[in-house]
Symmetry: C2
Subunit: 355 residues, 2 copies
Amino acid sequence: MNEQMTVTLSGGKTTKVSYLEDLTELSSMLGFYGNRALIVADSNTANLFKRMPPNNIILEPGESSKTLSSVEKILRTAVQEGLGRDDYIIGFGGGVVCDLAAFSASIYMRGCKLVLVPTSLLCMVDATIGGKAGFDFMGGKNLIGSFYPAEDVLICPATLKSLNEREYHNGLAEVLKHAVLSKDEILYKFLISRKSQILERDPKTLLSLLQLSLEVKKTYIEQDPEEKLGIRQALNLGHTFGHALESSGRFSKFSHGEGVAWGCACALDAGYYMGLTPKTYVEAAKKLFATYKYNIDYKIGRGDWLDFINFILKDKKKVNGIVQFVIMKGQGNYVLTPVPNDILMRVVLSNPNII
Amino acid sequence: MNEQMTVTLSGGKTTKVSYLEDLTELSSMLGFYGNRALIVADSNTANLFKRMPPNNIILEPGESSKTLSSVEKILRTAVQEGLGRDDYIIGFGGGVVCDLAAFSASIYMRGCKLVLVPTSLLCMVDATIGGKAGFDFMGGKNLIGSFYPAEDVLICPATLKSLNEREYHNGLAEVLKHAVLSKDEILYKFLISRKSQILERDPKTLLSLLQLSLEVKKTYIEQDPEEKLGIRQALNLGHTFGHALESSGRFSKFSHGEGVAWGCACALDAGYYMGLTPKTYVEAAKKLFATYKYNIDYKIGRGDWLDFINFILKDKKKVNGIVQFVIMKGQGNYVLTPVPNDILMRVVLSNPNII
């Protein structure tokens, strides 16, 4: 096992990110905690092991499990297993599992120990670093939650082998987003030059990709761990559009990554119409998403507009009641700003004039 | 309004404690937030106002409301009222209301703003300072929760006038506990010399009592905001015994304060039997509780022992699975230690020999 990165969050809390070679190493790591841990998995990730460690709770896979009742189930099991506040909740799965495990750990006895083992690319580059935990509520994604960094994040790229193509692209979108947000062009160029190895999931290339991507995320998070200074918010690039698209499709038609990729393109277009984003930059960045085959030209029909705008208005990222969007002024250079309604229509609707 | 004290908690967050003269001043303070706030009250505290501010949720009074479903109700209302993360949840009531409001605020959009207006003595001296928030779960008191300090705590001693005698004593027990934990004897001597004014609830005396008591709490909390250094834990003096007594009575037979007073006496006795607490100190401290008419000689019958010890074992304050008690070595001088089972029986059972 190699420790590769330490991320320092609010109150000086740190998350150690380590890389594990294979599932055998991972399995023995988890066994180490014995009955001082409760492992939260879903029925897909539980299948990665021949035998799950004894204290475990296995959820149904998918976003529909990301509910208060799953949290209640985890807490109930923790009480039944006699977990103390010095014991561990271990999330072993994708974003849903890791966010639920982290949120449950954050409130169990006012906070027990937390280890996250992300098994999807999305979760590796997004959910596990930075301490965001939570669940969906009344149709709002991650509407309820907390900040609770894991002590340890164990990344085993071997688990990515079994992801289907759509799941893999679900995570790649966040990597592309990081390439846009990076102060330099290293990740952007890596994504262009190593495209075929990335799509083939070559182990060494994946490791570099994960490292480059997480370094970008780390710089934003460490400067503003609790998203209060207008810096960490930049990581929400594409997410206000994307979440609304996911939500108006009731979390099923579009994956998170597809929504984010589309949302990044919308934000770039909106920035252009607002006179903030240079045309050359809009084109270069959108091309990156198109190269990786994201459907960034998707438009919303009239019938979905009301639903869509309602989800936009429910967004958490409000200042004085006004939703703030992340708009790019160039590579790694962003601004948080409201977007006028006519520009929103212009970028998301197939025929904005007939509304 | 006079700001009297600022408590600094983890991450440099501060709580300002202010004192308000009367309900009119309080009412206009709350009105100030307008529809940017959701007020959480119970049907008793709601009656203190002629008219409650518009966005409010009124819970059933009492410990039986301190549940996950009340939290869900508050969160649901917050979403329906369109509260953003820069808006306020205001707890207006006793410990149950304030703990629920604070916990809900801590997880609503990963944390919105929080103001607490304690209306009981217990809540003024205990629940509102220090950021503990939570609810009861599977029979365990405050088993689920978070640390989330209020921005503002507004104390209006006028609300104490309407408390019944038992409720008032419920809070006084925590003041007496602070007298034992204080490094000096000022509060202890104040409680002895001003007993009649305290029991008559003389406004000026009450103000001094609140200030002296909160200063003791502040010193413990500021040194160890998240209860991780073995310092803040001292404030749990009497609570492991007390919570178990409350819980085994299903939260009804004994009030929190009655449990804590009894628990302090048990802890003093246990310390004596363990050779840690000097006999003279045990006697002086127990006398303080007896003077204020707490039933510190109460003993548990055989039939309740198993229930009682099960609640002790469920306590959150475990290290490596072993419950830690706060045991006094003298005035303001404590140690955290397990208590042997035979000594537990000796201090709580009416007839320990026949088990």
